[in-house]
Amino acid sequence: MSTNAKAQGLFDPKIIRAAALDALRKLDPRKLAKNPVIFVTEAVSLVVTGFFIRDLITHESSPLFSGQIAFWLWFTVLFANFAEAVAEGRGKAQADALRKTRSDTRAKRYVDSKNLSEVIQPVNAQDLRVGDVVLVEAGDIIPGDGEIIEGVASVNESAITGESAPVIREAGGDRSAVTGGTTVLSDHIKVRITAAQGSTFIDRMIALVEGAERQKTPNELALSILLSGLTLIFLIVCVTLWPIAAYSGTVLSVTVLIALLVCLIPTTIGGLLSAIGVAGMDRLIRFNVIATSGRAVEAAGDVDTLLLDKTGTITFGNRMADEFIPVAGVTERALAEAALIASLADETPEGRSIVALAKSRYEIAAPSLPPEATVVEFTAQTRISGLDMPGRVLRKGAVDAILAQSATTGTAAPMRNSGGAGVLVRQATIGDLAPADFRQAVDRISRSGGTPLAVSDSGRLLGVIHLKDIVKPDIRPRFAELRAMGIKTVMVTGDNPITAAAIASEAGVDDFLAQATPEDKLAYIRREQQGGRLIAMCGDGTNDAPALAQADVGVAMQTGTQAAREAGNMVDLDSDPTKLIEIVGIGKQLLMTRGSLTTFSIANDVAKYFAIIPALFVTTYPELGALNIMGLSSDKSAILSAVIFNALIIIALIPLALKGVAYRPVGAASLLRRNLLIYGLGGVIVPFIGIKIIDVLISALHLA
């Protein structure tokens, strides 16, 4: 889905055709009533059409003029409808792809969901109920959302994630949730259905991308109130203008008053408002994140604090070798070489990172594993691994374990009888047996939150490898960006406070939560919210669910448990916790687009007044011609130009509404300065130019 969605251009001809039809369908006043500005426009278009018909019959006034006004008023409505239809059309294309996965799946249901014996009854997936248990075997499509209660299987989830690499799903733990419509590739699992047909994940996704369940978000509602208020104000202005004009000696026709009204009411933003909202959702979906409501997208823009899991978001997730520190008398290269050979058979990420570092930093060619070598596997008891080769015993492992081993077998350090057991002895051992430079290196590594790994060659201590959590190289500037935007970043980790502090300062986060339990997270969120802040976090485990629910923006990973996915208000199909940062950006962009176009729309009115007012009264007061600063050719042409500009600007702004205004991660003050300049000042100036151009065309074509 995501791949073909991404291929979709802004103006796919198929979507445009469908949207054009939809725009006509949306003329239904019952549908338009949701949008007061456009509803008013439609109502007055009808009135002007009436006058046009009258003019055709009676020739009371020029039917060419009222006809053209009526024509462009209808187009104002149609363009607004079209904007919404295009935005929705892009969602519909995605929904259709999803719907295919849902059609007529068969399910193997256990007759008795308590007793999972072999009595299986084939049923239609549509007939499954919550609590039913089904068997899904290799090649089967999973018939509904559920929880694996038995078994493990690899599942192809490309139907929803667009990612064709299979994922492992197994009973128990954080990877037990399966989604209806996905396919089991190997093994078989028993699944308890947890979502009723019609409310499954795919159903909800379809509803969301289609915009069928779209309700106005809180901010959209507030904005609609502003727009309705302005519409009312301009209704008052236009209605009262009639008597005031009559007093001044001009009898205004209803047609021109309506033209003035439509030019003044905020049709531009009124027409684009819902398209902006749909497009915002759509942008998120393209980004493979599903929001359960528009409210969540808005909240993302408002987020003050980001709770980020350390592992996977801030660091690569595995400890990696960063440095080789030899003891006196050993070269770095010798240490690196020994470490490399000791790790040849080590397939853990740590082991591979040692090999990679030794290769890249010292350009040591990795020898192949000698056939006569014996691999010593790491065990929790020995805490040592290595390689036994003829004449060479290479070991790496926990510092105390290596030292203890060196002490019994070794040759390097002076021997000492280490009777007894326990911490005291171990410390004494390190303290006494190891050279001072080695001790210092180990101390430094521990203090910085890293893990020291000692290396010995045939009992001789060579040095220590510094294993550390590697902070992603690009993460620090991103946190700086977030800080500039006024967003606080908090790193959440299970590490001890020392390690956490070290990584926090390296990554440049503002705060950290060390040795964090799910309860700590929840408490932290509550505390921040108490202070009036909005929090975003992501999580995947069942124990994350309360915090996900409490957070203002809770992004659940698609790979997570059903509980987590239910608790969050967004689901990330790629299960990439780093995306939280982009989600905030998308939320902000949505709000900015809305604000910028509102400002633009209102600022436009200034020019329209300068076009229309002198035109209306020029017969009574030729002196008012002084206000015709655009030098429009005639009064009719002036009014018509303003109306045409008002209609065309909607079409012109559709791409901007769908793409969103340019967004930069900078502070509010510079965003405001920039947008005020472009959309505020630009909004005042652009229509002066646009109306003038249209006027020149109209008079050239002798349309007025």
Binding site: P218, N219, L221, A222, L223, I225, L226, G229, I233, F234, I236, V237, T240, L241, W242, P243, I244, A245, A246, Y247, S248, L264, E298, G301, D302, D304, A484, M485, G486, Q530, G532, K588, Q589, L591, M592, R594, G595, S596, T598, T599, I602, D605, V606, Y609, I613, F617, Y621, E623, L624, A626, L627, G667, A668, A669, L671, L672, R673, N675, L676, Y679
Partner: protein, 569 residues
């Protein structure tokens, strides 16, 4: 325009600022319920009032109860003032033996004074007894101003507090504002006025023989006391019909400066106090600078337009260098007249030293625009602050989204409920002003009240409704308002302008107070710097221009162009 003229203007404004800053600290103390240096004397009096009225001063009210108290208090004020006028002929202190005031005029006047408008469809010296003037009008000069500041207090608390259920106690606020702020300053100011030559007596009138030998009756009365609160409380209801242009009300240049100072003092101080109350002086400063720019640009336009004079006057053989002096007090000159005119309409005062009807079209456009915008730079006592904050909320909402967050002002999210109430308040103005103006120009009875035809007549009607609706009370004159149609509709305009605005404001206060206050960050919409000032200016100019462009174009604007081509009205 002269350098000396601008210097005078600058000195008066500097004087206002220099005194408003210390006063703002004092007002912020009153707002917070703190004691001050007057407490040893006034605190027992204050307690006495609470005891008499059975008010528990420690008990705060929700915004709903606050509004109920406001309405009850205003109804009581209306009824008592109405009765006082209707029965003044049988009540004492009526040395000139005036009749009872007529029903529609008494209705209009009562509303006028309880709403801090002080629109006067009567000549004070020939209509109202001393008792009505003192017990009725002067008392309401205090109380209506105190009410305005009380509403502003409640509104400011809504921003200052977080998750609060209450916005203060109306009775306590009104009592404290009257006792600690208005009365002490008014008493001192009244004495200064007396010292500078403003009469203060209970005598009715004196008959004198003029130099030419004619007999003249000169009205007298307790003027200094009324002048003080008239300006200080941004009331504007003069003792005389000529208002502050009358040599008794405003005898010399010093009293004139004091009058301008007094009408700007509390509005300016309360804006600074707002900054103190929300814990960020810059918030008040940004608003004050915006107000100052709007006010001073207005002064400049009037000063320029009036000094430039008109072709018509020059054609009559008048010295063009004097500018347009029609309707101005030669004692005060162009500069001070311009400042007074802009300040009296920028606040809700409405006192005049210049007949606004006689201003040039562009000069007259300034007071007209000021009152059409609701008199909010810096506005009436209290009313200016809450009026301006509502506009700020709208501005923040429109532009706030552009920083990528749902809009918030002073840490409070502006959502549907806030927009509903703010738009309701904003809608009242065009509805009343344009609605009643539109109706009036269709009515022959209304048009008969007009002195002038054409665009000037239109300006007169629009001005009357705008002035009453904004609770300003100044008149463009030239319009006889004392007819049943105007008495009634102007009365309604005043009622709507005050209560249909203040009640949504209080509802807004209740909702905002209950919200959590979000801490500011780099991502927060900045409401302190020059950018915000520019934004406010832009939104205010565009918002009001869009509402009144057609009306203004057919009024003063076309009149200006007609004047240039030699036509006058």
């Amino acid at each position: 325009m002269t350098f000396v003229g601008w210097l005078q203007i600058a000195i008066v404004l500097a004087l206002v600022l220099a005194t408003a800053i210390p006063l703002s600290g004092y007002i912020a103390g009153i707002y917070a319920g703190k004691d001050n240096f007057l407490s040893p004397v006034l605190r027992p009096v204050e307690r006495g009032f609470y005891w008499l009225a059975g008010v528990d001063e420690t008990r705060e009210q929700s915004s709903f109860l606050y509004a109920i108290a406001l309405i009850a208090f205003s109804i009581a004020g209306f009824v008592s003032l109405y009765a006082l006028q209707r029965f003044q002929n049988v009540l004492p202190l009526n040395p000139q033996g005036f009749d009872a005031v007529g029903a529609d005029l008494a209705f209009n006047t009562s509303i006028s004074f309880i709403t801090n408008t002080n629109w006067q469809n009567y000549g004070g010296e020939t209509t109202m007894s001393h008792l009505t003037q003192m017990l009725g009008l002067t008392v309401h000069n205090f109380l209506s101003a105190a009410t305005g500041l009380a509403i502003a207090f409640a509104f400011v608390r809504a921003f200052a507090r977080s998750s609060a259920a209450t916005v203060g106690n109306f009775w306590v606020d009104v009592t404290r504002v009257s006792l600690y702020i208005l009365l002490p300053i008014a008493i001192v100011l009244a004495l200064v006025f007396v010292a500078l030559g403003v009469p203060q007596t209970l005598a009715g009138s004196v008959d004198v023989t003029t130099l030419e030998g004619a007999k003249q009756t000169i009205s007298m009365g307790p003027m200094a006391s009324q002048e003080a609160i008239k300006q200080l409380g941004t009331n504007g209801g003069g003792f005389f019909n000529a208002n502050s242009a009358h040599p008794f009300e405003n005898p010399n240049a010093w009293t004139n400066i004091l009058q301008i100072w007094a009408l700007l003092l509390i509005p300016v101080a309360s804006v600074i106090a707002f900054g103190r109350a929300v814990g960020d002086l810059r918030q008040g400063r940004a608003i004050l600078i915006t107000m100052a720019i709007l006010l001073i640009v207005g002064v400049g336009v009037i000063y320029w337009a009036e000094s430039a004079g008109t072709l018509g006057l020059t054609a009559l053989g008048l010295d063009p260098s004097a500018g347009n002096l029609e309707g101005k007090e030669i004692r005060f000159g162009q500069a001070m007249s311009a400042l007074f005119t802009s300040a009296t309409t920028g606040t809700g005062t409405g006192a005049v030293i210049t007949m606004h009807d006689s201003l040039t079209p562009l000069g007259g456009l300034v007071p007209l625009f000021n009152i059409l915008a609701g008199c909010i730079w810096p506005g009436g006592v209290g009313a200016g602050l809450y009026g301006f904050l509502v506009v700020a909320i709208v501005a923040v909402f429109v532009a706030g989204l552009m920083v990528g967050r749902t809009p918030e002002y002073l840490g409070k999210k502006i959502e549907s409920r806030e927009m509903k109430l703010a738009m309701f308040a904003v809608l009242i103005y065009p509805m009343v002003v344009l609605g009643f103006s539109g109706a009036s120009v269709l009515l022959k009875t209304a048009l008969d009240s007009l002195n002038n035809a054409g665009p000037h007549g239109l300006s007169e009607i629009i001005y009357a409704y705008a002035s009453t609706n904004a609770n300003n009370g100044s008149a463009f004159a030239g319009l006889n308002g004392a007819t049943p149609w105007f008495n009634t509709t102007l009365g309604l305009a005043m009622l709507f302008g005050r209560f249909a605005y203040a009640i949504p404001v209080l509802a807004l206060a209740g909702g905002l107070a209950a919200k959590k206050k979000a801490p500011a960050s780099a991502g927060t919409f900045p409401t302190t710097g020059p950018l915000f000032v520019g934004l406010l200016l832009g939104v205010i100019v565009i918002l009001y221009l869009l509402q009144y462009f057609p009306a203004l174009a057919l009024g003063p604007v076309v009149e200006h162009f007609l004047m240039l081509s030699g036509k006058a009205f």
